[in-house]
Structure formats: structure tokens, C-alpha cells
Amino acid sequence: MLFELERVRASRGGVGVLHDVSLALPEGSTCIAGRSGSGKSTLLRLLNRLAEPDSGRVAYRGRELGSLDVLALRREVALVPQLPALLPGTIADNVRFGPGLVGRDVEVTALLDLTGLATALADRDTDRLSTGEQQRVMLARALALEPRVLLLDEPTSALDERTRDHVEETLKELRRRLGISLVLVTHDFAQAERLADRVVRLEEGRAITAGLEPAPASASAPSAVR
């Protein structure tokens, strides 16, 4: 199982956000859908330990998150946050940042190509990008880590319909070509159905339905997380 949550409680600002959530998320593509304030972003942040639950257990591939090297976990389970979250500098600076932390270089143009960005944009400052381009840079930046799982927090919420469709196509293509698992948070239930093998509905911090279909067989390499 990719992620398991057992009776997880979490709060933000002293207010309970998740209440006894128990879930099992297999490999593949899962959408966590819910209205604003339902706790879905908090749930996503628990999965790569950007946040800690108040109680309960969160496990990744059978191992409790607390027992894993948190920095290696975040490289393997990469989060694409909501806008705006680009670092100052060029697109290439952003894409190289994560691998650079562990002394690795990446082929920036290949990643831009993969995420549907013109390779000529590599040296453009991120403050001169459209919202759709920024979203793709964040995607390329996360993919530069060579993750096995992508966590996506409302990846198309700031986009117009046409750009949203492009990003959705890119995500499906990534899933097909790279075989990485996706956990995607959205308030758009239609998008959840378009993108996911299974949908988890969150309402007021409780998992209402977990429409889990059998996980597709995926040849997965051994986890790099220690």
C-alpha cells in the first residue's frame, strides 16, 4: 500500500481539521476531493511530513513516516504546492534547486519539454510567467527530484479552462510515461473523476467515501527512502 492513515487527527491554528481519518491509498492516481476548509490540503501535507498529525498513524509503503529520513521522503514523495510558491530566479534555477541540494544536476530542457513548457523559457525570470506557466514550472521542479509519488495541491485552481485541460493532459501523460503515483487534492469533483483511478471525498475533516478500485499493477522500483 502506498499510504495508510489510521485514525488520524490533525489541527491547524488550534482548530481540528481532520477527525479520525482512516484511509488506504494504493499505487496509481487518487484524488482527494472536498470543499474549501474540508482538510484536504492538511491531509496532503501529512503525506510528506510537512505537517504532523496530532494523533494516529501515517505510513508510506508500510513504514511509519516518523521512522523515515524526512528529507529523502520529500524527494521521493514530491509536493507541488498551491501558487504562488516559486523561488526567485529563472525557471532553470527553480528546476535545478531540489537536485542541487543533493549535488545532482538535471537536464532542464528535458523536464520543461516533459511538462509542456517551451525550452527557450529556461532562462526567463519566474516573475515574468503566466499562471499556467508557473504551474508547469512547479511541476517540472518537482519532477526534477525523480519522485515516485507526486502530491498535487489544487494544481489547476488558478488556471483558465484551456490551460487546465493542458495541465490535466500533462499529468495523465506523466502517469503513463513515468509510472509515478499521483495524489491530487481538488475542490473540483469533475476533475477528480477525470484524473483519478479512485476518489476520496472529504467533508469537514472526515473521509465520507473512499471509492477505492483495485490498484493497477505497477512495476515499482525499491524505495530510496531509508
Binding site: R12, V17, S41, L50, R74, P81
Partner: protein, 261 residues
């Protein structure tokens, strides 16, 4: 050197005439600062007179332990005051206290070790006061900037953490900017000293009858000393305080990241 001018309470009282000008301006422009001005005048009179007696006692006793106690007391009071200027930094008192004690100790020890001043209370007490005061201002500015930037840039910090950065790596650009903001005002005033303004020590010495070049040399020593001490205090306070924003698992604490769904 000529004799220092006699200054009695009559002269201090006469200087209140200029305070009256400030009060009149406040009344005329309806600034509503008359109360604050009155409090400032009363507090400055009481505090400076009290410290005058304390310093006189320390000078008379000629005991270095008393000097150390006095400087430590100033550091505690300074850290307490500076903490209020950086309300967005959790637990700011301890980093500020360590920063001020370190800046005060290192600067005074260095001045004595380099032979600039001898280890006597009449040098160490006023210099310690200047070092602590300036260090406090610089550390407070740096911490205030640190707290504001972490609160305002929490998305960028979390995005950086999400890419596998350590807490130190994620906050490094903010640390750099905070340190610059703490030290830059003194660098700027050092650049313009003598051209745009006369610093207080030099004015005091000239009024007291010192030869101008003697006053200049002492002022230069003080300025260079302060550049060192504000750097020590800013860097110490910021490096120690930055930890308070993160958990050991490289998570941004909620105090900086507002609640989200």
C-alpha cells in the same frame, strides 16, 4: 584640554524649553503626542539620573565584577525591550539575551586585548552601555525582519522544504536579508558621519572641551567597535532565533504558517 562646562539642574531645566517647543508642535498639529513626550521626558530624567548614581558607585568601587554585573543587567533589560519589537518571533528573549551578552563580552574583551582601552570601569561601563544599546537595536531590527519575512513568505519556505531542503537551507535567503537590515543602518550612518551628522560621542567631547582631533580619533574607535558588535549581535540573534520557526523534522511551525484547509 579645557575644563568641561558646568551643567547643573538649572541648565537641564532650561533645556526643557525645547521640549515645550515639541509639545506646542504636537498641540498645534493635533498629533496627540503630548502625553508621550511628557512620559519620555520624565522617564529619561529618572532613568539617566538613576544610572548616573549606579555608574558613580561602580567607578568609586573600581571593581570589575560590578562592571560585569552592570553590563549583564543592561543585556537582560535590552533583550526584554528588543523582544517586544519582534513579536512574530517565538521565544525571542533567549536568542536576544545570548546575542547581547556575546556582543558585549566579545567587544569589550577585544578592545582591552588590542590595547585600545585599559580594563577600568570608567572605560568599560560607558563603552558597554553603547555596545549593548546599539547591539540591541540592530538585533531587534534583524529579528523583526526575520519574523515578518517568515510569516509573509511561508509558502515559499514550505515549497523549499517540500523539495527536500533542510530548515536552514529553506530560510537562508531570509536570514541573509534580515542580517543586512540589522547591520545596514550603522554602516550607512558610519558612511555619512562627519558629513551629514556629528555623532554623539564627538559632540560630547567637543562640548566638554576636548581637542577636535582627539575627539575624532575616539569617535572612530567607537564607530569601528560598534560595527563589530552589531554584527555579532545580529548574527547571533538571527541564527539562534531561526530555529524557533521549525520543528526538528524540518517542518515550519504553525506560528509562521497560517491555518489552511
Amino acid at each position: 584640554m579645557t575644563r568641561a562646562p558646568d551643567v547643573g539642574f538649572a541648565e537641564v531645566g532650561a533645556a526643557l524649553g525645547l521640549v515645550a517647543v515639541a509639545v506646542l508642535v504636537s498641540l498645534w498639529q493635533r498629533m496627540r503626542l503630548e502625553g508621550d513626550i511628557a512620559v519620555a521626558v520624565a522617564r529619561s530624567f529618572v532613568q539617566l539620573t538613576a544610572v548616573g548614581f549606579v555608574i558613580q558607585l561602580v567607578f568609586e568601587q573600581d571593581d570589575l565584577l560590578l562592571v560585569i554585573a552592570l553590563v549583564a543587567g543592561m543585556a537582560v533589560f535590552g533583550a526584554f525591550t528588543a523582544r517586544r519589537r519582534a513579536p512574530t518571533v517565538p521565544g525571542a528573549f533567549a536568542p536576544l539575551l545570548v546575542a547581547l551578552l556575546l556582543a558585549g563580552t566579545a567587544t569589550l574583551v577585544l578592545l582591552v586585548a588590542l590595547g585600545v582601552f585599559s580594563a577600568e570601569p570608567r572605560y568599560l561601563v560607558p563603552l558597554g552601555g553603547m555596545v549593548i544599546g546599539n547591539s540591541m537595536t540592530a538585533a531587534a531590527v534583524a529579528l523583526s525582519r526575520l519574523g515578518d519575512e517568515v510569516t509573509g513568505s511561508w509558502r515559499e519556505i514550505e515549497a523549499t522544504l517540500a523539495l527536500g531542503a533542510t530548515a536552514g537551507q529553506a530560510i537562508r535567503p531570509i536570514v541573509r536579508r534580515s542580517l543586512r537590515s540589522g547591520v545596514t543602518p550603522l554602516i550607512d550612518s558610519t558612511k555619512t558621519t562627519g558629513v551629514i551628522f556629528f555623532p554623539g560621542i564627538m559632540v560630547g567631547l567637543l562640548v566638554a572641551g576636548a581637542a577636535p582631533l582627539d575627539a575624532v580619533r575616539l569617535q572612530l574607535i567607537i564607530l569601528y567597535m560598534l560595527l563589530g558588535s552589531v554584527s555579532i549581535s545580529s548574527v547571533t540573534a538571527v541564527i539562534l532565533a531561526q530555529r524557533s520557526f521549525f520543528t526538528p523534522a524540518h517542518q515550519l511551525r504553525e506560528v509562521a504558517a497560517p491555518a489552511a484547509g
